[in-house]
């Protein structure tokens, strides 16, 4: 089960399991972004390369106009995937203190 919610202030909240069977749901929302956006990972339990690809594609598109994604509230297991993929180099990730 995966859900993606857009809050009134534009923040994106991800929840559940973002696997290859769910990327179209995520892609539909990320495709509409055209400004710097905060993405809250607090309730996201799992992400695979399919989800990482959506984020990377969005970051590339936003970057062409000087905008970007801010990723925050990742749990440790999801954060490990970002670290191994070395996505620290291409995303702004705010770690929970």
């Amino acid at each position: 089960m995966f859900t993606i919610t857009v809050k009134d202030d534009g923040e994106i909240v991800l929840s559940g399991r973002l696997d290859a069977s769910q990327v179209e749901i995520a892609d539909a929302v990320f495709n509409r972004m055209n400004a710097t956006t905060r993405v809250n990972f607090q309730d996201l339990d799992y992400i695979s390369s399919a989800g990482l690809g959506i984020l990377l594609k969005t970051q590339k598109r936003l970057g062409s106009t000087g905008q970007f994604l801010v990723l925050f509230n990742m749990n440790k297991l999801v954060r490990d995937v970002f670290r191994i993929a070395r996505f620290d180099l291409v995303f702004r990730i705010e770690d929970t203190p």
Binding site: S48, A50, L52, K60, A85, V90
Partner: protein, 143 residues
């Protein structure tokens, strides 16, 4: 324990259910369970995307003892593809340079303890080993 799953992306829900039930029985910790789910998803989705001429179903096997979990994916028919020989990914590239795809096999190779491929008859078998006595991920592992 083994079970067959249709060669389609929506099989992932059933695959996760199958794995989660077995890993619950074995008390697999969340970190190791995450790596096993991810490895199976990446290998299975590769079979769906790149071996469309294969048999309608892929056979997933799972066994776990106190020291390791071993998962096999048997893919018959179609084209052999040795995942262990897939090209390296340069993760030091800048945003502009990084390709959107190709990360799945890289992640698996970094996160599991052994990844093997054998082809015999008309079937390819991927074997994934995750040691349970080591941390679920290793820093700066080079393969």
């Amino acid at each position: 324990m083994q079970r067959s799953f249709r060669r389609e992306i929506r099989s992932l829900e059933g695959i996760f259910l199958f794995l989660d039930r077995l890993m619950d029985v074995h008390g697999t910790d969340p970190g190791h369970a995450y790596v096993i789910r991810l490895a199976v998803e990446e290998m299975f989705t590769n079979m769906v995307k790149y071996n469309r001429g294969g048999d309608p179903e892929v056979i997933l096997g799972f066994e776990c003892n106190g020291k390791a979990c071993i998962v096999t994916l048997v893919d018959c028919g179609g084209v052999p593809f040795d995942v262990t020989s897939a090209g390296e990914v340069d993760t030091s590239m800048s945003l502009d340079e990084r390709p959107v795809g190709g990360l799945g096999i890289y992640l698996v190779r970094q996160m599991v303890d052994d990844l093997r491929y054998e082809f015999s008859g008309r079937c390819g078998t991927i074997t994934i080993v995750k040691n349970l006595e080591d941390p679920h991920v290793h820093d700066h592992r080079q393969r």
